[in-house]
């Protein structure tokens, strides 16, 4: 099943500021809601997101219950060299997903 949508430019000039957009499939259950019979629905959210650029961490975010389902995270970085972006999402109930995208820097 598909879980992540990643948008990284395929090519960039060295020194360019590029936008990276990520979308992860997740219900982001807050832990504050109840079922029709009154039982608490346990929290099930992504708690952490990080991005590595050729092994070096360039972006990290902590996520909380108020963040909507299927979190969309976009950020900017400087294209320094050709290589790979590795994305990682970690959450409740052992949730762990990864994705990667490559870029050519000229």
């Amino acid at each position: 099943m598909a879980s992540a949508l990643i948008n990284v430019p395929k090519k960039a000039k060295r020194g360019d500021v590029i936008e990276i957009k990520t979308l992860m499939s997740h219900i982001m259950e807050t832990g504050f809601r109840h079922t029709a019979t009154g039982e608490l629905i346990p929290r099930d959210i992504i708690t952490s997101f990080s991005c590595r650029y050729n092994g070096e961490e360039i972006f990290r975010a902590d996520l909380f219950p108020a963040i909507s389902a299927n979190p969309f995270i976009a950020f900017f970085t400087t294209a320094t060299e050709s290589g790979t972006f590795e994305f990682s999402w970690i959450g409740d109930r052992g949730f762990s997903e990864t994705a990667s995208a490559s870029i050519i820097v000229e």
Partner: protein
């Protein structure tokens, strides 16, 4: 002088009441997709396939299209091959007439009929992730194509029934669909645009739902809003209403998977 004033007031009230008594259908050149009522930020989400959460369902649907299921151990692709050619324009013609039940079926029902008849698999529940995913994947193949639903002459009585339901006042608020979506689509309701109610992008991702949902889910929410008893999902009345709405939007381009607030 008093009676002249009374007549003037009565005439004024009459004039003010006319739009509510006789729903005026929207002329074709004034029809607008719900997309055009949205803020630019929300439009940007729909326009970018890597930001549109509806694409998560489309990609799931693509995987389901290729997976073998049921006692027949067949996938959708085993009969229909490449969806990008075989399913192109199909969703733009739904709900369509089906000879077996002798009435229109919507795209979700068509998928479940196909599962039962050809894959010998159990039907998928309405609004389940798998059914929404397959529907979104099939409907996305028609993106940009004009809606053609309701052209089949066999559908005529069912379009008429759907139109009758659209025009009928119901619920504690005693409102018809037309009272808002034909007569007052240029106004706002509690800060939100009323819109013309053209189902161009279903199944679509509603930010309010935080999920993809079907047109019938949306119709039920509207019926609940006028404090009437909603029909069950899959009910013939909702399929007829769906059919009328699609025929009312004939010629408008498909947007599946759309994004709406």
């Amino acid at each position: 002088m008093r009676w002249i004033g009374t007549i003037a007031l009565a005439t004024l009230l009459n004039v003010a009441c006319v739009p509510f008594l006789f729903a005026v259908e929207i002329p074709p050149d004034q029809r607008r997709s719900g997309f055009s009522f949205m803020a630019p930020d929300n439009q940007a989400i729909q326009n970018d396939d890597t930001a549109n959460p509806g694409m998560l369902w489309v990609l799931d649907g693509e995987a389901l299209w290729k997976s073998k299921i049921g006692a027949a151990d067949k996938s959708c692709a085993d009969c229909h091959n490449d969806a990008s050619s075989s399913m192109r324009g199909v969703a733009a013609r739904y709900p369509a007439f089906d000879t077996k039940p002798g009435r229109p079926v919507n795209l979700e029902q068509r998928i479940n009929l196909c599962r039962a008849d050809h894959q010998q698999a159990t039907p998928l529940a309405y609004e389940s992730r798998d059914l929404l995913a397959l529907t979104a994947f099939v409907a996305q193949q028609s993106r940009g194509m004009p809606i053609e639903a309701g052209a089949d002459p066999q559908l005529e009585p069912f379009v008429a029934k759907g139109r009758e339901l659209f025009m009928r006042r119901q619920g504690q608020l005693n409102l018809s669909c037309a009272n808002c979506h034909d007569d007052n689509w240029d106004k706002r309701l509690a800060g939100s645009a009323v819109t013309q109610g053209h189902p161009t992008g279903y199944p679509l991702y509603r930010l309010e739902w935080q999920s993809l949902g079907s047109l019938q889910r949306r119709l039920r929410a509207c019926i609940f809003g006028i404090r009437a008893q909603p029909y069950d999902i899959g009910a013939p009345e909702l399929v007829e209403l769906e059919l009328y709405l699609m025929s009312r939007a004939r010629g408008m381009p498909m947007e599946t998977p759309a994004v709406r607030p």
